[in-house]
Amino acid sequence: MERREFIRLMAIAACFTPRMAAAKELPVVGVATGTDYGKITRNAISAVGGMKRFVKPGDVVVVKPNMGWDRTPEQAANTNPLVVRAVVEEVLAAGAKKVKVFDRTCNDERRCYANSGIQGALKGLPNVEVRFIENERFKKVLLNGEALKEWELYGEVLSANVFINVPVAKHHKLTGLTMGLKNIMGVMGGDRGKLHKQIGPALADVNAVLKSHLTVIDATRILTDHGPQGGDPADVKIMNTVIASTDIVAADAYATTLFGLKPADIPVTVAAAKRGIGEMELKKVRIVRV
């Protein structure tokens, strides 16, 4: 950066700082509703400042949907491919050099990538990589957390400039619901089943270290029971909603209300809020509806 350019930038920053500080008090959650899922995804992102706020030209960006199950989009077990595509398009439009989309799946990865519809939805987009997890890319990361001292995280996430968390909001038998905070499990290596003993603190440990710069929750349709896998159309409820926030806890907290539950009912949310990762009191969150 040129010195002159740097000074100019500092000057501009100085002008904006007081206003930014004032805004910082309340985290913003963008909530967009409608039946054009690409459009509401873009609207929700605009409501929190637009993709250019997060992605700078030349960035390498990881977009992490939930595509862990061999289920179709209408079964609501994976993130809606239309939402994922819209997020990826926004990232590309912001000038990203490369977008990497992946998940460590529970069912066969080929079937999950194909049947979630996400692989197909991203086909043909330039500079987008949809690759399967390669075990050698996991790296041990010191977490020094309450439940986890260290854990293996995916190298592609660690080396990316921006990490965008794009979960689907759905029921989960153990944790009540699964949304952004739990979607992080898809970039964790090792034997994830072992986390279940103390899942709240464990997920707080990982989310404290691995920050989601932007969380976009797909609630176009939600799975209300028999999660995380579902399969029964009777459990699926159409909500036509997409939620975006830089505050992952606030985003999860808002999505919880769509199920008729309170954020405090979800232990993972509570553990993360207690750790200071974000705000779970919706009274202390500015909700921008679009």
């Binding site: 080929r110 089943g193 279940h196 003993k197 009777a234």
Partner: protein, 522 residues
Amino acid sequence: MNRTPARISQLFFLLLFLGLFLSTEYRGKDEIPAAVNSFFRADPLALATWLLAVKSFTLLLLPALLVLILTLVFGRFFCGWICPLGTILELVTGRIVKGKTPPWLVGRLKYLLLALLMGAALAGLNLAGILDPLAILLRAMTFFAHPLAGDAARTGWVGLYRVMGESRDHLAPGYSLLHDYLLPFRESSYPLAVLSALLLLTVILLERYGKRAWCRYLCPLGTLLGLLSRFSPVRRSPGRICGDCGECENVCPTVEEGKMPEGEECLLCFACRRGCGRSRVRFWFANPFKLRERPYLPARRFLLGGMAGGLLFARGLRWKSAEARERLLRPPGVRDEAEFLAACVRCGECMKVCLRSALYPAALQAGMEGLYTPLLVPRLGYCEYHCTLCGQVCPTGAIPNLPKGEKEREVVGKAVFDKNHCLPYAKKSNCIVCEEHCPIPRKAIRSRVVESLDLNGKKISLMEPYVVEELCNGCGICEHVCPLEGKSGVEIFGVKDKTPIAVAVAAKPAAKVRGGDEDPYK
């Protein structure tokens, strides 16, 4: 280089075999358009033992019937024009030093082998695949060569990452191409890998005793086709090597010490016709009523003895250990063990195609009679709920080819919890990984919330899992994902009654009770 039409056909079918082998893999579509099963469906040996063992007919094996009829008319063309193992033998035979043929190999042995196989088949045990040339080749590829190639490539690829780090990405397109089209998707290793390779190696090393020694002295498919070709009116003239030339002796792939093969051993490759410097050799239809004396065939008594031996042999292999019976988990759709053993040709295709590498060839786990038959080993891999590939590629229908909705309801076994291992019971800590993974929409594994004391005496709320038997299809994902090291806290056991899960039960609208403590028996 040999450019006879027969050789070109041989190379074509060898490449086709390899191509179909590689296409016997999931590539993003639920249906596999073409698989290597086509070769087995055209295999008259598979047909013969299937007919004897199952005692009915299946349209799946219609191509084999066609080959059989063509053999009756033209002779043993399959061996000379199609068989990929025969082609491999012809390609390598030049490099193997020839020795003296042991007398026990020549003559009766192959008829005895074939008779034994037929006898066993009549007793309901289909052993053809163990010695079928296509199966020998396919198993060596599936269990040994292909995994080895995959492992080597993968090790190299991981090694590159250690050296190059992220810059390895520049090479990724090349590796993807290799991995997507040539290598197995998953690195799995198989039991019996070495045995399968040794069996193929033995067949190749038999070349020491003459060109295509396996085909002439042992191969049960060749023997069967040879017997059929006795009825073929196609004859070569002159019948023997001419005193003034003898060039055919140099070109014939199955010539034996100065004697040109007659009817049964002639593979119809026409090499002698092309090689004849004097244009004397011709093949034409002889009057079937005026055929010369047929060549040697062992006495009827001998063949019948072999058949009887096979019958007894099949009975003798029956014993299974109690543990083997408990864990006798067959691929989905297989309902009856006896019917399965009658129809399975042990070709290994189901194990090759299995998405999650859940199927493995049995060594002795299914009893002696079950050698090389597929077994589901849930701790190593589970049966993917929506996948129907094994039924699609099974050449004989031993594993039925069922549509998705039906296959999902087929019962492999039933899950059983071991409360001495399962975490919520044994360690008083929450887990529920099994319930989370259970693919049945209404969940065959559920949990009830109970107030309990943890190991320190602290009051806790605990989710205790249980199995809803009516819904469990025994896919084994619960056993596979159980986070316990070593023995799983939930295991699949074989059951006699494999009635599919009733549609009514599977589709019953889900009761909206949180906590899952609805009573499934209501």
